[in-house]
Symmetry: C2
Subunit: 198 residues, 2 copies
């Protein structure tokens, strides 16, 4: 797929079908993620790919329960676009036991070698995650950039055995989409650009 078409139509997909994702597509997503740049090419990233039904159910119950408790009541108070987004996020978390795959994108603090800095963790993990979701779009797979570690980090680490010194950057559910891809909604570029000086 053309790269600009993939970027333009890479809608967050929060309604995913339970059909399994073939191994070769899972591998292709990981290959794409690891083509990203990283500071000094340090490649501190690591990925947990979850497809085991029991593990998915545990994570779904944890995250779905936590999100529903803290945010479920907000749906009716938000403007339509935000309400739609939140409804989708709750749906996704609560249907996780049926979602075929979850990618947990992590990185260690490894760069610079003598003085590893946290900002370099984020500049490693998120470009890789972005490659992953673009690749999913190109392969006809739905995904979305979730950050479920922010609602249940301790428990998520425990379920997945993620070491303490590893940073979790994103949790990306992947499956064939129930809805159509289409252009993303964004503010006009002119509103966010400064030329030569802020």
């Amino acid at each position: 797929m053309d790269i600009f078409e993939a970027m333009e139509t890479c809608r967050a997909m929060r309604y995913l079908r339970p059909d399994p994702v073939p191994d070769e597509l899972i591998d292709k997503l990981l290959w794409a993620a690891t083509r990203a740049p990283s500071p000094g090419n340090s490649q501190g990233w690591e990925f947990v790919v979850v497809r085991d039904r029991d593990v998915m159910s545990q994570i779904g119950e944890l995250v779905g329960g936590r999100m529903t408790a803290s945010m479920g009541g907000l749906v009716d108070t938000l403007p339509p676009s935000q309400a739609r987004l939140l409804r989708g996020a709750l749906h996704l978390a609560n249907t996780l036991p049926q979602v075929p795959a979850l990618f947990v994108v992590c990185s260690r603090r490894v760069y610079p070698p003598q003085d590893p800095q946290e900002v370099f963790v984020w500049s490693c993990v998120y470009p890789a995650a972005q490659n992953l979701i673009l690749a999913a779009r190109a392969l006809g797979l739905g995904s979305t950039f979730a950050t479920w570690q922010t609602v249940a980090e301790t428990e998520l680490r425990e379920i997945l055995g993620i070491p303490e010194d590893v940073f979790i950057g994103a949790t990306i559910p992947v499956g064939y989409p129930e809805r159509d891809f289409g252009p993303v909604a964004r503010r006009p570029v002119a509103e966010v650009v400064h030329h030569d000086h802020w």
Copy 2:
């Protein structure tokens, strides 16, 4: 360009020709960057696009001087691949006055609305930056993910007038490349993947 070809051949380009980059390509890079996802579609990103020769010279002298002083002596002590990378990084910073454009990718802390968190700044700014460098590759432009704010943040903010509450995520020089695009060098995927559990 096919998205997987762009990802595979998106080498960091640290040797850039001085030829100007047409306005429509600058615009296309910004369009691509702003197709990225952001937490709750909050789009907290902002970009400074520098092309003014005086400003580029100021930044080049600042960053080039700072990097040469702190890292120039290391070149001969490093293994070949790291020495090559550092030599390229120093070359790029020191030739910045001749580089046609520099994108400074920033984000404010805007999400969640009631309790904005720093991790959401990074998960906004770096996917946008990754889209930008992939788009550059697809357009035949060289770029690299630099983080010059880590060596001279105070001065860089002053030169560009970047407000205190704005986070700088990446500084991305862009121009036509002096060298060839080609496959990136990465560790085997199997070394960085865990299935179902770390």
